[in-house]
């Protein structure tokens, strides 16, 4: 029986090639969209779940309030791990991690490595990163032991066995390779190329609550223990706050526990890499389902539309004894067959677009992933579901007709035309919604990209500064300044794109204290970043002398610059602030107030900031280029670098690229959204195209008669497009308020955002109407030009 159904289905597809093709492509594109988004979501979802003990691992984050601002950070001091492990029996082990870009050298090979971690000895037993060589329990159990990944082994040692070989880290320390790890999978919040033993760090010798630079993970004995442990930690830290830190009033410090598997999707606090917002995954799931629904709707619409042509067959089958069930099964199996073919095509499509999608979504999916049994089963399940969604309605309608009527006059749908219209409206609501959402997202991103942040970030090259470079900082800086094409060189602790250093600042008069972000910098920071001084002046010669490291640590005097927000937080106008004495560790005067600039993501408002001169803390050098020929300027910089710095290679970044990187999540979502809104509208048009075709066939007699009566081509076009255009208009009315609500909601997440402009809605409406109209015309114009006599003859 099934074989008979499939045979008939196959022959039917062959007979209606165009219809089958439209359905096949539509479904395939819909399924491809689902598949791609499915892969993406699955990957995000699988984050960190591969660790065998994932359920029992928690990340410790720090929450504190030392003044009047609540601070939360994923970074903790060195004390947290060992202290909690000693004190609380719920914990079994701890791992502290420090990510620290290092320059590594073996023989004549030297590279700067960004993915260099320091980790406690339990690292490979708590986490399930497989070791190819070495014992997980002992590879990191002593200072200067180093585990490297397989690909790094190849990079530094080629085919030679690296175990026992030594690598020079940071120019002076010799590490011995004690193990080889498999390359870390990319669905992990911890990514590494190298893991050095934590005990190699000087910082490991002393346990401190402050100086939070480390991620701390705890392995619990029992996953249920997390709440008990949390309560104990809160209680314990209250004691510590009172007894050790002398905190009073509202000030407090505590630690929060986050289950490892929740960090990537739910945590607001980034560790060594940005987290994903789970809301984006929900949005993507919705997009995937909507696209699939649009494709299903096409199938449903086309099947019922063409059912008129099959009424004789259905009637006859009933005469021969087929029941409702048999007819229903026949049409469902027809849908299933088509969907199976579509799945095949979709897998092909997916493999074709995968490289492009990877780029868009920032993933590294391999095509062979699609051939895994898991995906295969999922696709099979998906096929059944899609076949039922798309095929049920036509099957019910077609199997339900009365035989005597079918045989006499064929199928006439009174009920289903309104459903069909509803479905078209639905498709266009989704399409218009996605067009509007895409435009607004792109606008906001371009707003971010071009936003005047209050400092210049174009053509600014960022160079790393480490302890050895600091020794000859001024020499190197002066050499760079004199290079052709260089406008200015300045330095600071970190990049102005994201200033993370949190601190406190107090006034001498009135003894007011505020929580503040701080940026240690050199004397040229104002001119290098084009900061605008609203009151006071730039650092003076005497300021520079007072802060000269040569005077020795204790004799340095700081000079401060505040931003407007900091001045107002201290209760001063910019003018009032000048010359006031403030203290951040040590006392100094306020030399200038600079205009507020965005030193955090645009998701957040601008907070208080203090800039102070301390060249010993410079960690990055900013080289502002002036010339047009950036390539030759870079070549100059490289030449100077190589003359003066021989312990690390010349590696640079551009400030504006680093800025862009902060909005990666948004950029990816924008890319995916753009792609899929194009797909949605294409699918909707495909459906409209085919439906118009059927309407033309149905109305060929009417059109013929009208033409004989003198109707022009335009009249005919108006006649047939009227119905469909009406539907698109209804869709516009529904889509506009929906999309307005959705994009407003999204924009709420940005403190600095665009206004939603009315023309976006107008443009999306006009665009969708135009596309729909053109689609209809493409089909209708043929009929309209057709010789009416022919139309009538075929009746």
């Amino acid at each position: 029986m099934i074989r008979n159904y499939l045979k008939i289905a196959l022959r039917n597809l062959q007979k209606n090639k165009r219809y089958a093709f439209i359905n096949l492509i539509g479904l395939a594109v819909g399924i491809m969209g689902c598949l791609l988004i499915g892969l993406y979501i699955w990957h995000e979802w699988s984050y960190d779940r591969f660790h065998e003990k994932a359920d029992r691992i928690v990340r410790v984050t720090w929450e504190f309030n030392f003044g009047d601002v609540l601070n939360e950070t994923a970074l903790t001091g060195t004390r947290v791990g060992p202290e909690f492990n000693r004190r609380f029996p719920e914990t079994e082990a701890f791992v502290r991690l420090l990510k620290y870009p290092r320059v590594l050298a073996v023989a004549d090979k030297m590279f700067e490595e960004k993915n260099f971690l320091y980790a406690d000895s339990a690292f490979f037993t708590v986490f399930s990163f497989p070791l190819l060589e070495g014992n997980p329990a002992t590879v990191l159990d002593a200072p200067h032991k180093l585990v490297i990944t397989q690909s790094m082994a190849k990079k530094y040692f080629g085919s030679q066995n690296p175990i026992g070989e030594s690598i020079t880290v940071g120019g002076d320390k010799e590490f011995v390779v004690s193990g080889i790890a498999a390359d870390a999978s990319d669905n992990s919040q911890i990514k590494f190329d190298f893991v050095g033993s934590f005990t190699s760090l000087n910082a490991s010798k002393e346990e401190k609550w402050s100086e939070a630079n480390y991620l701390t993970y705890l392995l619990l004995r029992d996953e249920e223990a997390i709440e008990t442990l949390q309560a104990k930690i809160t209680a314990y830290m209250q004691e510590v706050g009172k007894d050790e830190m002398q905190l009073t009033g509202n000030s407090y410090t505590t630690y929060q526990l986050e289950p490892l598997t929740k960090v990537h999707l739910y945590s607001q606090l980034d560790g060594f890499e940005p987290n994903t917002n789970v809301v984006y995954l929900y949005v993507l799931t919705a997009v995937a389902l909507l696209i699939l629904l649009i494709a299903c709707v096409n199938y449903t619409n086309l099947s019922t539309a063409q059912s008129a042509g099959r009424s004789a067959e259905i009637g006859m089958r009933k005469v021969m004894g087929a029941g409702r069930r048999e007819i229903f099964l026949q049409f469902i199996s027809e849908a299933f067959l088509l969907v199976l073919m579509a799945v095949g095509v979709a897998v092909g499509f997916t493999i074709l677009v995968l490289p492009w999608f990877n780029q868009l979504a920032g993933k590294e999916f391999q095509p062979d992933l699609l051939l895994s049994p898991f995906i295969f089963l999922m696709l099979l399940g998906l096929s059944v579901v899609v076949a039922f969604i798309a095929g049920t309605y036509p099957a019910v309608v077609l199997s339900g007709g009365k035989v005597s009527k079918i045989l006499k006059s064929g199928f006439s749908f009174t009920g289903s035309t309104s459903l069909r219209k509803g479905l078209i409206v639905f498709q266009f609501v989704v399409s218009i919604f996605m067009i509007i959402a895409t435009v607004v997202i792109l606008q906001q991103l371009s707003f971010i990209k071009n936003k005047d942040l209050g400092y210049s970030r174009e053509q600014v090259v960022v160079l790393p500064v480490d302890a050895q470079i600091r020794e000859q900082y001024d020499l190197l800086k002066n050499a760079l300044r004199q290079a052709p094409g260089v406008a200015e060189v300045g330095g600071a602790y970190e990049e102005p794109t994201h200033i993370g250093w949190g601190d406190g600042l107090s006034t001498t008069e009135g003894n007011k204290r505020i929580t503040i972000n701080a940026l240690p910098a050199d004397e040229h920071i104002v001119e290098t970043l084009d900061l605008e001084i609203v009151a006071g002046s730039n650092f003076t010669r005497s300021d520079i002398q007072l802060a000269d490291p040569a005077r020795g640590g204790d004799n340095i005097t700081y000079t401060y610059m505040l931003n407007e927000a900091a001045a107002s937080a201290l209760g001063w106008t910019p003018e009032e602030a000048i010359g006031k004495k403030v203290a951040k560790g040590r006392e100094g005067i306020v030399r200038a107030v600079v205009k507020d600039f965005h030193f955090r993501s645009l998701h957040e408002p601008i907070g208080p900031l203090v800039i102070f001169m301390d060249k010993r803390l410079v960690g990055a050098m900013f080289v502002k280029l002036s010339g047009r020929d950036i390539a030759s300027s870079l070549a100059q910089l490289e030449k100077i670098w190589e003359q003066r710095v021989n312990h690390r290679p010349f590696e640079y970044q551009f400030l504006d690229e680093n800025y862009q990187a902060m909005y990666k999540a948004e950029q990816r979502i924008a890319g995916v959204f753009t792609a899929f809104s194009v797909v949605a509208i294409l699918l909707a048009c495909l459906g409209l195209f085919a439906l118009t075709a059927f309407a033309m066939v149905r109305r060929s007699k009417e059109i013929g008669i009208r033409k004989i009566l003198g109707a022009s081509v335009q009249d005919i076009l108006a006649l047939v497009s009227k119905d469909f255009v009406q539907l698109v208009l209804i869709a516009i009315l529904i889509a506009i308020p929906l999309s307005f609500l959705a994009v407003s909601q999204w924009l709420e997440g940005f403190t600095y955002r665009i206004e939603i402009e009315w023309w976006v809605f107008l443009a999306a409406s006009v665009l969708s109407l135009l596309i729909a109209f053109l689609t209809i015309c493409l089909q209708a114009i043929k009929t309209a030009y057709h010789n009416p006599v022919k139309n009538l003859r075929s009746e």
């Binding site: 029986m1 039917n12 005469v319 021969m320 009365k402 005597s404 006499k408």
Partner: protein, 221 residues
């Protein structure tokens, strides 16, 4: 075999009933060859469809082989239908996507006949009507007469006791028409199959052994 009593059939158009059949009572014995005649719109096809259980009257009762058809459950009625009734149409209504062989086989599929048995039954029929050579052709490759022959064979495959034919020769030329009529006559005489046909042609009606005239939904005696 067939007992129709006081059959009415009407449609409501603009709140007023339009009668298709008005008080038709009719008894047909097993082994009869009945021709229903009458002008277009007189209700011939509707009557035939009611006999064939494809349509239901607005009023009246119908006994088929002693069973009260309209008081049966849908499933039982379907069984009765599958077992005893075969239909032949003016427009043949062969399934275009199926070959001759598959068209003939389809009713057996719906009756759940096993594959081997199906093969034997279809083979027999193809043999008997000398269309073995055409079994792999599609309907569009056959002449009208040949198509109607396949239509009749398909109606016969489940060995029905009653064949209902709605203008079976309406689309055929006279030679082809006569061949089909002779076939009906032969089935009726040699195998005792009851035949009810709707026809416009006096000549075709004469092949049967009883004629009734319908006019405006009423039987004219």
């Amino acid at each position: 075999m067939i007992q129709l009593q006081n059959i009415f059939k009407w449609y409501n158009t603009a709140n007023r009933p339009t009668f298709i059949l008005k008080d038709v009572s009719l008894t047909i014995d097993e082994g009869a060859f009945l021709s229903i005649m009458g002008p277009s719109g007189s209700g011939k096809t509707t009557l035939l469809n009611i006999m064939g259980m494809l349509d239901q009257p607005s009023e009246g009762s119908y006994h088929f082989m002693g069973q009260d058809v309209f008081n049966l459950k849908e499933k039982q009625r379907k069984e009765l239908y599958k077992q005893y009734i075969g239909f032949v149409f003016q427009a043949y209504h062969l399934l275009d996507e199926l070959t001759v062989y598959e068209n003939i086989e389809t009713p057996l599929l719906y009756q759940g006949v096993k594959s081997a048995e199906r093969k034997a039954m279809v083979g027999d029929m193809l043999d008997r009507f000398r269309i073995v050579g055409k079994k792999d052709l599609f309907p569009s490759q056959l002449s009208g007469g040949q198509q109607q022959l396949v239509g009749v064979v398909r109606a016969l495959i489940s060995k029905p006791k009653l064949i209902l034919a709605d203008e079976p020769t309406g689309n055929l030329n006279s030679t082809q028409g006569e061949e089909i009529m002779q076939l009906f006559q032969q089935l009726n005489k040699e195998e005792g199959v009851t035949i009810v046909q709707v026809t416009h042609s006096e000549k075709n009606a004469a092949f049967g052994n009883r004629i009734i005239q319908l006019l405006d939904g009423q039987v004219q005696d």
